[in-house]
């Protein structure tokens, strides 16, 4: 192969693929068959991290950045004047195998601009995956994009070779989608999602009866939403995410702070700041919903349509619901422990184990690793020294902010100054 030409294509098509934030390589269960190449064992591995701090786990590229659509938020939209390129199927296969053998990557994440039509594009993505699995005996991780509008037959085939499939909904509201991607229908996005969901359900049912049922997308499906491109509220985003988790059994919903890539009067101008803090708060909320037993309505509702910027969503919830506190860590159940600000699920697990042996005091809790600067206002333990002043929520917030530092502190202290 000609390295110079490949290098040029790789630069263009990796650059265009990087706005897809998903880089997960976990959750699959492919073992190495017949002394072949690779495996995928549930635990993802980040082989490197870019200078923006994001994980590099997969070779994430587009098949091509030619596209018939003109979605305003997308760098490869047809009206954008950029260099275009396309990989041949064999070139993607060779790159993947050679990177994988050197332990650079866990596998391939293949997406594409849409050329000709949805099925033609999807066919080529499937062809790469098929070649890797069948000709190269490759058992590493493969993440394929479901091209909006692709046929059910192709989605079925895609899932037989891929570990994960994803369609990016990109715009969290239907009205926003109409505004920014006028050529696309909402149904084009949901159709492949629905097909994949149903195939996974069917696979799981059949596997119980016939153990050799071929795997179908064992790492499930995911989607992504752009944050801050249209005027949506945090409530819109999280309610929409909840909808996808619930109705399409998504493994993950990703939130991607919008990076301006084009001058368009419908969108934030080029050079405007990427909403990193907001993105962070949304992920924190996502975690609360998936692992901490919160319901989305507890955190975001008509009275609180947006997340606090200065405190994390769990602390924000606690400050609005002081009647649940203080919690006795030696007696409370798992669900309530998980709601104490400053205590994560790892610490919950440790506390529940440790308190079987003795009553826990501040020293034990500190060694276990909970964030006492936040937690101490919301809990009691085996000690007479606990926060016994009757503090107002605002005062607690003030004390916590005063006695801690946060990675985004500088940003929102500037934001606050604007209004004071």
């Amino acid at each position: 192969m000609s390295f110079e030409r490949i290098k040029e294509k790789l630069n263009i098509l990796a650059d265009a693929a990087k706005y897809d934030v998903s880089c997960a390589s976990s959750g699959s269960n492919r073992t190495n068959k017949n002394k072949g190449l690779g495996n995928s064992t549930g635990m993802g591995i980040c082989h490197s991290y870019t200078e923006d701090g994001r994980c590099v786990s997969l070779l994430k590229i587009l098949m091509t950045n030619y596209c018939i659509y003109d979605c305003a938020y997308c760098v490869t939209r047809k009206s954008n004047d950029i260099k275009r390129a396309a990989f041949k199927i064999q070139e993607v296969v060779d790159l993947t195998i050679n990177f994988y053998r050197r332990n650079y990557i866990e596998g391939l994440f293949l997406s594409s601009g849409i050329f000709k039509n949805a099925d033609y594009t999807m066919e080529r993505l499937v062809a790469v995956a098929k070649k890797l699995r069948e000709e190269e005996n490759f058992n590493g991780y493969i993440h394929l994009k479901s091209i909006p509008g692709a046929s059910d037959e192709l989605m079925r085939e895609a899932g037989l070779y891929a570990d994960r499939l994803s369609v990016n909904i990109e715009v969290p509201t239907v009205s926003g989608l109409k505004l920014l991607a006028p050529d696309k229908n909402y149904e084009d996005f949901t159709k492949p999602m629905l097909k994949v969901k149903n195939e996974i359900i069917q696979y799981k049912a059949e596997k119980k009866i016939i153990k050799s049922t071929p795997k179908y997308a064992p790492a499930g499906q995911s989607t992504q939403m752009i944050i801050g491109a249209t005027g949506e509220s945090d409530k819109d985003i999280m309610y929409s995410a909840t909808h996808y988790y619930k109705n399409y059994h998504m493994k993950r919903v990703y939130y991607s702070g919008y990076v301006p890539v084009a001058e368009d009067k419908r969108l934030p101008a080029i050079g405007s700041q990427v909403p990193l803090l907001r993105e962070n708060r949304l992920y924190q909320t996502d975690w609360l919903l998936r692992f901490y037993g919160f319901h989305v309505k507890e955190i975001l509702n008509a009275d609180f349509p947006n997340l606090d910027m200065d405190v994390d969503p769990k602390l924000g919830w606690a400050l609005r619901n002081m009647h649940h506190f203080p919690v006795d860590v030696n007696r409370a159940d798992r669900a309530m422990l998980a709601r104490i600000p400053g205590i994560g699920m790892q610490s919950v697990h440790k506390i529940i184990n440790a308190r079987k042996f003795r009553k826990l005091n501040w020293e034990h809790l500190k060694n276990i690793g909970i964030a006492l600067n936040r937690a101490k206002y919301f809990m009691v333990c085996d000690s007479s020294k606990w926060e016994n002043r009757d503090l107002e929520p605002d005062r607690i917030k003030g004390l916590i902010l005063q006695n801690s530092s946060g990675k985004f502190r500088k940003e929102y202290s500037n934001q606050l100054q604007l209004f004071s």
Partner: protein, 258 residues
């Protein structure tokens, strides 16, 4: 103290377990357990050199494993941390496991248990890091070769991962600090020691031993690494937290910066 002894062992995990066996078997009051290459005689205690006996080691291993599978795993991981005084910490932990009815590796309010689990966790993290940071380079002999310099002695822990992943290629991972490596010949993994003169190469100082295409692939990878970065989101602090500087010289995408 009468009969207070320093037990000296060869530095291997089996050696350590043999020392534990000896301590229990001979009812020695142990004042310290030391590696023979770091042995310092104590003023008031005599010493006994323990000869590694895999049968005795096995009995201790299975004895602990029977008490708790998590405990033996944590003890092995923590031992590989090679941290100062690790032997006595683990010896106390093992005594606790055998003496107390309700001693458990999940008693995180106990100092010794917590410390051991934290050390095991650090070693586990380093193991995971090495599974990520190994960068194979293809030699003209057809061997995928990588140098590593892990904080802890994790080669024994990563062997299985690489064996099951790269089952169809010859590979060699060499620990520069501890001067030994693992070599896989398509059938089994062997421990090898060798004298490596030329350890680091890059596109400027090309090595004769590597294939020509190797540098092209490294170049492609380095290019990919650069193109996938989003400049408007730059966060070097986070970058360095995930990829600490001490590993850079072994990562082709970071090596040119070093």
């Amino acid at each position: 103290m009468i009969n207070s002894k320093i037990l000296v062992y060869d530095g291997s995990f089996n050696g350590f377990l043999t020392a534990v066996f000896t301590a229990f078997d001979e009812k020695v009051s142990v004042s310290d357990i030391q590696r023979e290459d770091e042995y310092q005689s104590g003023l008031f205690s005599e010493s006994e050199t323990v000869i590694t006996d895999s049968e005795k080691a096995k009995r201790v291993w299975y004895g602990i494993d029977k008490k708790s599978h998590t405990a033996i795993k944590q003890i092995y991981f923590a031992f590989l941390s090679e941290s100062r005084g690790i032997e006595m910490l683990l010896y106390r932990y093992i005594r606790k496991l055998f003496s107390k009815q309700d001693a458990s590796p999940s008693d995180y309010s106990d100092g010794i248990v917590l410390k051991t689990s934290q050390l095991a966790k650090s070693v586990g993290r380093e193991k995971h890091r090495m599974e990520a940071f190994v960068r194979f380079q293809l030699t003209k002999d057809g061997i995928y070769f990588a140098n590593i310099e892990p904080d802890f002695n994790v080669l024994p822990l990563i062997s299985k991962h690489f064996r099951s992943r790269y089952a169809d290629q010859y590979w060699l991972i060499y620990d520069v600090k501890r001067k030994y490596g693992l070599y896989y010949d398509l059938k089994k993994v062997e421990i090898v020691t060798m004298d490596l003169k030329e350890l680091l190469t890059n596109s400027i100082h090309k090595s004769e031993t590597l294939t020509a295409a190797e540098y092209d692939f490294q170049d492609l990878w380095n290019n990919y690494f650069k193109s996938t970065n989003i400049k408007s989101r730059i966060n070097l602090k986070l970058h360095q937290q995930h990829v600490p500087k001490r590993y850079w010289k072994y990562l082709s995408e970071k090596r040119e910066v070093v």
